[in-house]
């Protein structure tokens, strides 16, 4: 098991990070390239009101505006979930040591008590989001496998991470918990570009894509009809 753990922390971790980072960069580049293609082919050559689009992007990303109204509770819980989800994996001292070992770079870490608090916050809010997803009919019936599995895997990561950081609280075998923590962590990195976790790289472009997508290609409709062999057919 030690060998597997070392493999998971070493070559597999480097592979997983490379796949996640390169995968997300690929998606972002493809998104930007796609937008370029939309503009190039569009009949509407007016300049985009980038200021308004950037403003809408920030407004949409701002979770505070959702704190009122029907989904206020969901928005608040989701925001808190994301705070821990983003900060802990990046700024946890143990992870930074892993980065230093694996790729030779490091950065300042969170104080241990804050990391603990954020971990518990993420666990609690993650559980609430899962309960919310199961309780709210609309999201429950639409949910795919990844919509259930990803929060569970993330919650497992945070729970196992907490147990590793607090051996006295850990009722399970330390090696087993380490193995699973490393393995699931690598798995989450590997699936990042292939699941909705990719929204971390794509979300900033969403408003731009939506705005541009209404800039249609002149003549496209008639080309479609030609391709389908429907030319000359009455309406």
């Amino acid at each position: 098991m030690d060998t597997l753990i070392e493999f998971g922390r070493g070559p597999l971790f480097r592979f997983a990070v490379a796949l996640a980072v390169l995968g997300l960069i690929r998606l972002a580049v493809l998104s930007l390239w796609g937008m370029r293609q939309i503009l190039r082919r569009a009949g509407d050559k007016r300049p985009l009101d980038l200021g308004a689009i950037v403003q809408r992007t920030f407004v949409n990303l701002n979770p505070v505006r959702y704190f009122r109204g029907n989904r206020g509770l969901y928005s608040a819980v989701s925001t808190l979930f994301h705070v821990g989800l983003i900060l802990v994996p990046i700024f946890l001292a143990g992870h930074i040591r892993l980065w230093r070992r694996g790729v030779g770079i490091g950065w300042p870490a969170l104080p241990a008590s804050l990391a603990d608090a954020l971990t518990i916050l993420t666990l609690v809010t993650g559980a609430l989001l899962l309960v919310g997803r199961a309780w709210y009919v609309a999201s429950r019936e639409m949910s795919r496998v990844q919509d259930w599995l990803l929060p569970l895997l993330i919650a497992f990561e945070f729970l196992s991470g907490y147990l590793l950081a607090h051996p006295a609280s850990n009722p399970l075998d330390l090696q087993l918990v380490t193995f699973l923590h490393v393995g699931v962590g690598d798995l989450l990195l590997i699936v990042t570009p292939f699941t909705k976790i990719a929204h971390c790289a794509l979300l900033p472009f969403s408003q731009l894509v939506s705005e541009m997508a209404w800039r249609f290609v002149p003549g496209a409709g008639h080309e479609v009809v030609k391709t389908l062999g429907k030319e000359g057919q009455p309406i």
């Binding site: 292939f194 080309e223 309406i235």
Partner: protein
């Protein structure tokens, strides 16, 4: 009708005819159409993006008036969009095809197509969901695309097809089948009415070359909304700006927006052609929501080099008031009035404040519906569904339920609904929900309040 033999499928020779496609071929036909649309348009970039970010959180459901009335998952915007995105992923992406093989996922079926057809036409395309989706998905655009694909396999509401057919291929060249002679008679009658009201020669100029504005109302206004037209003519009489109606094309309606990009383009091009024929400078669209949106949004796309600018009559009248060219009697309308924001120009924020400035300039008792403006609720008949009479029960009792509640809550005597489609829908909502309120257009009220100098 043309026919040709397709390759033998399961030893059963299948003949292809114009309509309908045999059920066993529908999935293949859907995918052929989808592939052709993706090839020639830019939709694939949109689908790639949306397919990756959709979180299935259900935030959109909270804002959807249809879902709020039915509580059915099929009416959740993300679920509806998912029907199309799933097909895209499964059949048009390498990942999707690989995963489908690994998971032995079933391919597109005829039942899936029926599901999509129903789902996309239950949607009013009001795009309220877009305001709340944290991932920025434009579910309205996905509904638009879904309907477009279905239409190219001849799955489209008859009411929309018949209207577009008359507009693009019929003798009259407009959706209501009004011939030029009838138009001219109507305009002459309205001029007589205006003379009687104001003792002035207020004209509807026809085929005037070089006018500043070439006017495109919803053509149904010539049949159903004489006061709106007279109000608009009176505004032009007050401002003195040059405008005209063209007998080559006098219909701003564009149902292509609701179901087919090819027709959307062709109708916009006809509008621009009429402006060029008359050497007009600008397109002036009437109060109609979708007519305004198609002109504003798509004349730059399909209008060729130097397309004419597009102005909505509410923008025009608002500016006339701001510049002091239009005077309205502040005592003419004493009743409480509320205003319904048509989705097609309010959702983008284009026309929100202008009608309110007009209203506040002469109406003392104005009360807003909540929510209003960009966040308004759809009348329930959006996306062309108002034209489908068979859907009336669904439109008024489901789609229009929230709107009826809003109307009742205002306690208003009048609801101003500028858009022609909203007018029809709201009349039916008022009737079916027995709301004690009267529907009116904005220029109807302006007609009652307008005062001329001298």
């Amino acid at each position: 009708m043309s026919s040709s033999m397709l390759p033998i499928v399961d030893n059963i020779p299948v003949k292809y005819v114009n309509e309908p496609v045999p059920p066993m071929d529908r999935p293949r036909r859907f995918l052929e159409v989808f592939a052709a649309v993706l090839k020639h348009s830019s939709y694939s970039y949109l689908l790639d993006h949306f397919a990756r970010v959709a979180a299935k959180c259900g935030m959109c459901a909270v804002e959807c008036p249809v879902y709020q009335a039915t509580g059915r998952t099929q009416d959740v915007p993300c679920a509806r969009s998912g029907l199309l995105l799933d097909v895209y992923r499964r059949h048009f992406t390498a990942e999707g095809r690989l995963l489908a093989r690994l998971a032995a996922a079933p391919p597109l079926s005829s039942a899936d197509i029926d599901k999509m057809a129903e789902a996309f036409y239950r949607c009013t395309a009001c795009r309220r969901c877009n305001l709340e989706c944290p991932m920025g998905l434009d579910h309205g655009l996905l509904t638009h695309l879904g309907r477009y694909i279905l239409s190219e396999m001849d799955i489209a509401p008859k009411a929309l097809v018949v209207s577009v057919r008359e507009q693009l291929a019929g003798k009259s060249g407009n959706t209501s089948g009004i011939p030029v002679a009838a138009l001219l008679d109507t305009l002459s009658f309205l001029e007589d009415d205006l003379k009687e009201k104001f003792n002035r020669d207020i004209k509807f100029p026809v085929d005037v070359e070089g006018a500043e504005y070439v006017f495109f109302p919803a053509v149904s206004d010539y049949l159903l909304e004489p006061d709106v037209l007279m109000g608009q003519a009176a505004v032009f009489h007050a401002t003195g700006d040059s405008w005209t109606i063209g007998t080559g094309n006098y219909d701003g309606i564009n149902y292509g927006l609701f179901y087919n990009d090819r027709f959307l383009e062709d109708i916009v091009k006809r509008e621009v052609a009429e402006v060029r024929r008359l050497k007009g400078k600008k397109i002036l669209v009437g109060e109609c929501g979708h007519a305004s949106r198609t002109a504003k949004g798509f004349v730059p796309t399909y209008g060729g080099e130097n397309p004419p600018p597009v102005v909505n009559i509410l923008e025009y009248t608002d500016r006339a008031i701001q510049e002091g060219k239009l005077k309205l009697n502040p005592d003419a309308i004493k009743e409480r009035v509320t205003y319904h924001d048509p989705c097609n120009y309010a959702r983008s924020g284009w026309i929100v404040e202008q009608p309110r400035r007009i209203i506040r300039s002469f109406i003392k008792d104005f009360v807003e519906m909540e929510p209003h403006g960009k966040h308004n609720y759809c009348c329930g008949g959006g996306g062309g569904t108002v034209s489908i009479d068979e859907m009336r029960d669904f439109r008024t009792k489901i789609g229009g339920k929230r709107k009826a509640e809003q109307l009742r809550a205002t306690g208003a005597r009048y609801v101003i609904a500028p858009c022609a489609n909203c007018k029809k829908q709201l009349k039916e909502v008022i009737e079916d929900h027995k709301v004690d309120i009267e529907l009116i257009g904005l220029h109807d009220l302006i007609l009652r309040a307008i005062e001329f100098k001298g």
